[in-house]
């Protein structure tokens, strides 16, 4: 059985999912992705990921937030990070804590930072 940490990427853009997965896999994670909030929730329940990276705007403008609320209710210990196309200032005002996000990474994502942060969670 692999000891790689599982990361679930939830984003409606397949190109983003593929490229983020490529980066995570190359850095020792076991990444998978889902292309909507609904699929993401199904994948979360099925694959039991260690970390989730989630877009906000998918089938609904706040799908990421709604899905995260459910994931955090079902498994409060799993860190869920927002991958956001909205600005940092706006992100601070959309209720990140209310949804239960552990943090936000602004797109374009600084992967040196993201890998350092999720690496710390993976070791915890």
């Amino acid at each position: 059985m692999s000891d790689k940490k599982k990361v679930l990427i939830i984003d409606d853009d397949p190109a983003i999912c593929e490229s983020v997965k490529a980066i995570l896999d190359a850095n020792g994670f076991d990444a998978s992705f889902a292309l909507s909030g609904k699929e993401g929730l199904e994948a979360f329940r099925k694959t039991n990921p260690d970390i989730v990276l989630c877009d906000m705007m998918m089938e609904d403008i706040d799908s990421g937030g709604q899905v995260t609320k459910i994931m955090k209710t079902e498994r409060p210990g799993t860190p869920v990070f927002l991958l956001s196309t909205i600005g940092d200032a706006t992100a601070a005002n959309v209720g990140l804590a209310e949804y239960g996000f552990s943090g936000v990474f602004q797109k374009p994502v600084n992967f040196d930072l993201l890998l350092a942060v999720i690496g710390r969670y993976a070791k915890a």
């Binding site: 980066i23 705007m57 609904d60 374009p108």
Partner: protein, 165 residues
Amino acid sequence: MTATLAELFRRRPDPESFRAAVRALDGDFALGSADMIALGEAYFERYPDRLRERNTAEVLIGYAVTRAALAEKAVLAVPAPRRDAYRAVLDDVSRAGPVVAALLEAHGRAVLLADQAALKAALDGLKAVIDDIPKGLIKERFVGGISNFYNILYVLGLKLREPLL
């Protein structure tokens, strides 16, 4: 310079023909923030967005439209003979490995590192233009569009750091 990208988009029935038309310009088009906004407006005229039960296929067309324009400007940063190789990678991250292997064999690591730096500078320039677009859905499509290119550039960097076989 002939038609604007917004005009080109309005004349084209689908995203693939728009992309082909943009490609045919070989980078000879304006892509300032006003041009991005005009293109975004043309796109949203055809594919209006909504808050609930959004049409994902139409959202993805938006990213494809922005990427068609951004890719052509980005690849201008590298010498013409290598632009098709980088176009292929920007279009599909799974091409990164084979393309880097082929380019390494043909040109060596120093040339590819210079290409990578040139592409990064080009993306940074385009990102600065996108930053000037007022907050909203047009900006969101362009940020989503360019973000994948930054991701792919990161993957290219990873491939370049892999030891030679």
